[in-house]
């Protein structure tokens, strides 16, 4: 769907994007992750043709991106605002028409979305009369009204209350099912890991890591399991011996504890269970999955280590 190839962008004195490439598929949610200042917004502005890259190119559906393609893109900027003095309906109509919809098309879709969100009573309100959450709903509608093939959402959940955040999350998933490709940018990595299919991690203007989220998570699996048991910690630790290492432990009450155990060598979870079953009563076993934050930190560490070599 969207292909970004070797984008470089420099501003006076610093490089905002250094050879960034990524590809999103149709019907997928792609997470563009990275801390503040990593270059996410610069990349999004280039995809939106708000600014141009110094080198590299952007393809949409296999063809180089053109000015007309903006009708196929829906953009929810991080810094979002509306005309305060303008009435809600007029405003949504204005932006819909700027995206190339006819008056009739726009009207039908506005009615559809406003009925869906049950906010038709806002039509004649001025934006300044709306709460922040209400305004954000309007902004979301403006972003998706022209049924774009590619949705670019910059920090979409920031500023939303939990109820609205859930509502928007559901809508995003709905749009994905309809075949839209969604590029979701955020610095809050944990907020998106459950809905992203693929991710790209950017740090200090460079690509750190990219790919299918599950593959990445597998790749960064550490082989650490959390085991809750009843019995003596001393016996438990002794039983592990040289095939496993005890990473962390905590006592829940007098004779119960949770231990984080890492598999060493070629040992499997089965081997671990066989080893400890004779010593303690196992109550629960869970794999410790690294969070996106952990993966990010680990990937940055690896990358930097690699750069130094």
């Amino acid at each position: 769907m969207l292909s970004v190839e070797n984008i470089v962008k420099q501003y006076a004195g610093h490089t905002a994007l250094n050879d960034i490439s990524l590809t999103t598929k149709k019907g997928e949610i792609f997470g563009l992750l990275g801390p503040n200042g990593a270059g996410k917004t610069s990349l999004i502005r280039i995809i939106n043709q708000i600014t141009g890259p110094d080198s590299g190119r952007v393809l949409l559906g296999g063809r180089e991106l053109k000015r007309e393609d903006i009708a196929r893109i829906g953009y929810l900027p991080e810094e979002r605002g509306l005309y305060k003095k303008m009435k809600v309906y007029e405003q949504v109509m204005y932006f819909a028409r700027l995206k190339g919809l006819t008056k009739k098309e726009a009207k039908e879709r506005i009615d559809m979305w406003f009925e869906k969100f049950e906010i038709t009573s806002w039509y004649n309100k001025k934006v300044e009369e709306l709460s922040k959450g209400m305004a954000q709903k309007i902004q979301f509608i403006i972003t998706v009204l022209h049924e774009p093939d590619l949705l670019i959402l910059d920090e979409p959940f920031s500023g939303f209350d939990p109820i609205n955040a859930q509502l928007i999350r559901n809508e995003i998933i709905e749009l994905k099912k309809k075949g839209a490709s969604i590029l979701l940018s955020t610095h809050n990595m944990s907020s998106v890991e459950e809905i992203c299919d693929s991710i790209a991690l950017i740090n200090q203007s460079k690509m750190v890591l990219k790919g299918n989220l599950n593959d990445i998570k597998n790749e960064f699996r550490s082989g650490v399991y959390s085991i809750q048991f009843k019995g003596m910690m001393f016996g438990f630790a002794n039983a592990l011996f040289a095939d496993f290492s005890l990473e962390h432990s905590e006592q829940i009450d007098e004779d119960r504890a949770i231990a984080h155990v890492k598999l060493l060598k070629d040992n499997t979870l089965n081997d671990l269970l066989k080893t400890i079953m004779p010593v303690v009563n196992i109550e629960a076993v869970n794999e410790i999955i690294p969070s996106m934050n952990d993966i990010f930190l680990e990937a940055v560490k690896q990358k930097e280590g690699g750069d130094h070599v």
Partner: protein, 443 residues
């Protein structure tokens, strides 16, 4: 509709539907028409009687002048049977009671030339009255001198040439036409400032509310900038058009109902009746002159080339507005809030304010080099030129040249402003310095 068209429509629609626009657009012209009426009415009321000293060393007038049966003539004549230099008249203090000095020298018989020195420019009405009386008296003299009747003399007569001069050679006169021209200059200055200011506020509003991000993901920054400038400019033109219509109707109404006798030549026969024996063609000739009972009224209804001025107002307003509007849009994009804009605005406000002050100087001297230069420089020409056109001290080629220079400058300024605008609107949280603005322009 094109995207720029949609932006123009929004900018225009959102402004003309405001209550404040409606109120100002309807109220101001009514006030102007009202004040205009007041000024015209007062100008009719206060006809000052002037004292004219006729220096007649040859005693051609024989100390007499025919004043008719006018109970309250605009001028009273006194005679002095010797030469009197205007400098003496002006400086000695002895003649301070007299307002006007007329020198009738021996040469008048051959060159028909009469010099009139005034301390303060008299009204046209007074001027024509004086000319009329002096002419009549001298004609009598010439007719008698040649032994023919006055009627016969009138058939073969030559026009007298009255040369009006201020008795103070260093003093220049301000014609009412120039004052009207200056008023139009002020109007264009206010229009440019108001509407260019609106462009800046609009840009700042879009930038600070961040709505610009959404807009420019749909349109190019230059489309947004030009859409805004054109939309707001059309609001200005709409306002001007409504003002012109209301003021025009108001003046027509005033003319029909209050000053009809002054503009209708058929009403003038009575005014001229006391002068006996005047031939009919001479009567119509003089009718136009006597119409000028009040200079102001005459100027407003006959002396100002309104269609030309209105056309040029529209052209120069558009020119000046596009020039300053683009600069103000650039500043709006470069700053982060309206309070920040003050300092950055100074270099742009200076030429505008400067033009205004030049405008004041030009009233006194519409023929001077300042007028010629500043009516060509594009940053001041929209404000200065109309004044010169109203005073009729300018050639058509100068107007065309000035408009051409203005148009060329506008293209350059818009080109530069668009570059700054493009970069500036997405720079949040900092105020750009002029150094940075120039850097963006070169980028």
């Amino acid at each position: 509709m094109s995207k720029t068209g949609l932006i123009i429509q929004r900018e225009y629609g959102s402004r003309v539907r405001k209550k404040s626009f409606l109120i100002i657009t309807l109220l101001v012209p009514l006030i102007i028409a009202g004040l205009g009426f007041l000024a015209m009415w007062l100008s009719v009321q206060e006809t000052k009687q002037v004292k004219v000293l006729v220096a007649d060393p040859e005693n051609l007038c024989n100390g007499k002048i025919f004043v008719g049966d006018n109970a309250n003539p605009p001028a009273i004549f006194y005679f002095y049977e010797d030469y009197l230099e205007p400098s003496v008249f002006h400086e000695s203090g002895q003649y301070d009671d007299y307002d006007i000095l007329i020198g009738i020298r021996k040469e008048v018989i051959t060159n028909k030339s009469i010099k009139v020195f005034y301390r303060e420019r008299m009204s046209k009405q007074t001027e024509y009255y004086i000319r009329d009386r002096i002419e009549l008296r001298l004609e009598e003299y010439f007719a008698m001198d040649r032994g023919i009747t006055l009627t016969e003399y009138r058939r073969i007569r030559q026009e007298f040439n009255f040369i009006l001069e201020n008795v103070d050679p260093y003093k220049t006169d301000t014609e009412p036409a120039q004052i009207v021209g200056f008023a139009i200059s002020i109007l264009i200055f206010i229009f440019i400032l108001t509407y260019a200011g609106q462009v800046m506020r609009g840009v700042i509003e879009e930038k600070t509310s961040r709505v610009v991000e959404i807009v420019i993901s749909s349109v190019k920054p230059i489309q947004l900038m030009m859409g805004k400038i054109i939309g707001i400019g059309l609001v200005g033109l709409t306002q001007f058009a409504i003002w012109a219509v209301i003021i025009g109707l108001g003046l027509t109404f005033i003319r029909i109902f209050f000053f009809q006798d002054m503009v209708d030549p058929s009403n003038l026969a009575d005014a001229l009746a006391p002068i006996e024996g005047m031939s009919p063609d001479l009567l119509t000739d003089q009718a136009a002159a006597v119409t000028r009972e009040s200079d102001l009224i005459w100027i407003i209804y006959n002396g100002i080339p309104w269609p030309t001025l209105i056309t040029l107002f529209v052209l120069y307003f558009m020119g000046g507005y596009l020039l300053y509007g683009a600069l103000f849009a650039m500043i709006g994009a470069a700053v982060d809030s309206e309070t920040d804009s003050q300092q950055v605005m100074i270099p742009v406000m200076l030429p505008l304010m400067f033009s205004y002050f030049i405008g004041i100087l030009v009233i006194a001297n519409p023929n001077g080099p300042a007028a010629a230069w500043f009516s060509q420089i594009p940053f001041s020409s929209p404000i200065i030129m109309l004044q010169l056109v109203a005073a009729d001290t300018i050639e058509i080629w100068q107007v065309v040249l000035s408009l051409t220079i203005l148009a060329g400058t506008i293209i350059l300024i818009i080109w530069g402003a668009a570059k700054v605008y493009r970069t500036g609107i997405l720079m949040y949280g900092k105020k750009a310095s002029w150094k940075e603005i120039f850097k963006w322009m070169r980028h």
